[in-house]
């Protein structure tokens, strides 16, 4: 792989705003003068099923899909969904997981323990970071759906993605329509002030 290409897979559940955060990241890459491509799906899966988007950026991008085992960063908006994204993760490439500590139960199934999931992820990742994004956004901003914007902002502030917070901020302003902008900017600022040690 061309060293300059950066590959991201985002997973979660329909309704968590994956498409919006994917577009924000793409917009930020474009603002930094990079070539970029994203892939998303519409339709049935959006009704609360598993969803997944991909995003790549670099000097020249052809495929919009990340290849098997080829993700540099995986952003998972739900705990169990992180496991499904292992298809794109590998130790070889040194995949980094940024996971929202939030569980949506699957009807009729037990909620797996956090430790169990972390253990499974080990075989596929260099590092796993968990943040209680949904809880935090609900508590501080009153809206769970901001978890996604919080997480991509955090990824930028903590250098988990090679896109500057300045570009992310600009991209949020470009992609989010007027009436929702203020709340999204709050999510961005919440990420700025959020501390954890890597």
């Amino acid at each position: 792989m061309n060293k300059k290409d950066f590959n991201i897979v985002i997973v979660g559940i329909g309704g968590q705003g994956l498409i919006t955060i994917t577009r924000i990241l793409a917009e930020a890459a474009l603002l930094e003068g990079l070539d970029t491509k994203t892939s998303e799906l519409h339709g049935l899966s959006q009704r609360g099923g598993s969803v997944e988007t991909s995003l790549r950026f670099g000097l020249k991008i052809y495929s919009s899909l990340v290849k098997e085992g080829g993700a540099n960063l995986i952003i998972s908006l739900e705990l169990q969904e992180a496991l499904k994204s292992c298809y794109y993760a590998s130790r070889e490439i040194g995949t980094l997981f940024l996971i929202n500590e939030f569980s949506k139960p699957i009807p009729g199934e037990k909620i797996p323990k956090k430790t169990e999931i972390l253990e499974e992820l080990q075989g596929f990742s260099k590092k796993t970071i968990m943040v209680p994004a949904t809880n935090l956004c609900e508590e501080k901003l009153g809206k769970a759906v901001l978890a996604g914007v919080f997480m991509i902002s955090l990824a930028s502030f903590k250098n988990l993605v090679p896109l500057s917070p300045k570009s992310i901020l600009k991209a949020i302003k470009k992609q989010i329509p007027g009436k929702y902008l203020e709340l999204n900017l709050k999510a961005f600022n919440l990420a700025k002030d959020y501390n954890f040690s890597i």
Binding site: A26, K37, S63
Partner: protein
């Protein structure tokens, strides 16, 4: 949506493949657009719908959600016969519905340029009933087909399609697939043009009446047109050799098109290979001489394409004359089922070129498959009126009742906790099949004769294709219970309006239609009245004639 209308030309902005097609049409001066929604083509219609309802709307541009795809194609053709440029968009199933009209339309041709966008869905990401390659219509209808790979090409190919269409007076198909339609990338904008606005229908039955004996003459004219377009295809930069020279002893080459081209380039980069790639922007008519020129000196050629091996078969045919010894690889290395993924192409290329991949995909996949993953089924939205309908029907229907499903949000009836779907095919089919089952069961045993059949049909689907099926149950006398899921929208594809629920006024009342065709047992029920719904289902299941319940309560996503 606003970005699609951006005035600044030469600026690069992020667009979805489907949005880029809209922009391409606006840069071509399109004046009439019609569609019936269907993923992955829906954003084309949705974007035009938003343009039409926005302040910055384009002058004299007509947009409509038509009743179904056949009607959409007919409407756009009418506009093109009258000299306007038209665009029609649909998903692959839509073209099946429209095909009866498409074939003679290619005979007559059009006046104002006409572009037909069809989106295939390899892997059936948002298609229940079947996986199909619309390329087959090239052989059936002789319609020229262009295949873009990315959003920039979506825009450019749309413009070229309009030019070709105007020049050769024939509709041109732009065939995309999910990963092209829903791919976002920077697109360089051009200028939006006003286009021809004055329509005029000049009578010319010689051209627009397809009747024997003229019809066979028309077929000859069509084939002659295709020969001329083939000459364009031979010279077109859309069919071009990219990357690498034929090297050394191996003498390998790759032929590909559409989304597969992107994976081929990534795979070559990954494996550090320099192999020439013939990228085909035209699927039909193919630049046969260019292909022959390309394979003439090769020892091995790999054809990379999704779904059925149409291209591979053509290459095999063309090789016979020019290089019968060339080894042709394709579907022996790549699946005919499901979409291609980048790693599929990398693996095919490693076997083709005997080069080892850097990454051990096989081990990785094994490791992944060892994870115990649980399936998360899609669900009706919390608060969806269908929860109430399914609940009441489940309580009211006796054991053994057969449930006919159809395409829409209500096909989630198949999943837990409902389990109310014994068959599912295409739009409009639930009632049609129910009639046949009901008739047949009379010839079973005493027991089967008593068995009940309930067919669900959505309101948009009812207008699309359900009405003829309902009439058939009346005319040919059978007695299924048909439940029309009247949620006042085309929900599954993103809440588009339909004849029963237009954006502005009241719309056509479904109960008026149902009564007018002679159904005696009709009731409109708000499903929050669980008791009434349950009681009516029980009552109607015992009727000797067909009965219809219109379960009416709007989809909760409409206002969002």
């Amino acid at each position: 949506m606003e970005k699609v209308l951006l005035k600044k030309s030469a600026k690069k902005i992020l667009l979805l493949g489907n949005e880029a097609i809209v922009r391409g049409a606006l840069e071509s001066g399109v004046k009439f657009v019609s569609t019936y929604p269907g993923t992955p083509a829906s954003e084309i219609g949705n974007t035009f719908f938003k343009i039409q309802n926005s302040k910055s709307k384009i002058q004299d541009l007509h947009f409509e959600f038509s009743t179904n795809e056949k009607v959409a194609l007919e409407a756009a053709a009418g506009a093109s016969f009258s000299g306007l440029k038209s665009l029609v968009a649909m998903k692959h199933f839509g073209l099946n519905v429209a095909s009866d009209f498409l074939i003679p339309l290619c005979y007559s041709g059009i006046k104002g340029g006409q572009v037909l966008v069809v989106a295939d869905d390899p892997s059936c990401w948002s298609s229940a009933q079947s996986e199909q390659s619309t390329r087959a219509f090239a052989y059936l209808a002789h319609i020229p087909i262009l295949e873009p790979s990315d959003p920039q090409e979506c825009k450019e190919f749309t413009k070229l399609a309009f030019q070709l269409s105007e020049k050769f007076k024939i509709p041109i198909m732009l065939r995309e697939t999910t990963r092209v339609a829903l791919q976002t990338a920077p697109v360089k904008l051009g200028k939006i043009v006003r286009g021809k606005t004055k329509a005029k229908f000049v009578k010319d039955p010689h051209r627009f009446s397809t009747m024997p004996p003229r019809v066979l003459e028309m077929k000859r004219e069509l084939l002659e047109k295709i020969e001329k377009i083939k000459r364009v295809s031979e010279k077109s930069p859309l069919n071009q050799i990219h990357r690498g020279r034929v090297s050394g002893k191996s003498k390998m080459g790759i032929i590909t098109s559409g989304i597969s081209y992107l994976y081929v380039i990534e795979a070559l980069k990954e494996l550090n290979l320099e192999i020439p790639v013939l990228k085909l922007g035209f699927f039909y008519p193919l630049p046969e001489k260019k292909i022959q020129q390309f394979i003439k000196s090769l020892k091995k050629v790999l054809v990379v394409e999704e779904l059925e091996p149409f291209l591979e078969k053509e290459v095999e045919r063309l090789a016979k004359d020019i290089n019968p010894l060339v080894e042709i690889f394709g579907k022996n290395l790549l699946s005919e089922i499901g979409e291609l993924k980048p790693e599929d192409v990398i693996l095919a290329l490693t076997r083709f070129s005997n080069k080892k991949p850097k990454f051990n995909f096989t081990n990785h996949l094994k490791k992944f498959q060892n994870l115990k993953l649980k399936k998360r089924f899609p669900q009706l939205c919390p608060g969806c009126p269908y929860w109430l309908i399914f609940q009441s029907v489940k309580r009211a229907a006796p054991k053994g009742t057969i449930f006919g499903g159809e395409i829409g949000c209500y096909m989630l009836a198949a999943y837990p906790p409902h389990y109310l779907q014994d068959y599912l095919f295409c739009m409009g089919s639930s009632a049609g099949i129910a009639h046949g089952i009901k008739k047949a069961l009379r010839r079973g045993s005493d027991e089967t004769e008593k068995q009940k059949v309930i067919a669900f049909v959505g309101d948009s689907s009812f207008f699309h294709a359900g009405i003829p099926a309902l009439i058939n149950t009346v005319y040919n006398k059978s007695n299924p219970l048909i439940i029309i899921m009247d949620n006042k929208t085309t929900a599954m594809t993103g809440q588009q309006p339909h004849p029963g629920a237009p954006a502005e006024d009241k719309g056509i009342e479904i109960e008026d239609i149902v009564r007018a065709v002679g159904v005696k047992n009709v009731k409109v029920i708000d499903p929050v009245n669980l008791r009434e719904l349950e009681k009516t289902v029980k009552e109607f299941l015992n009727k000797k004639e067909v009965s219809v319940i219109i379960a009416r309560r709007p989809c909760i996503q409409i206002s969002k």
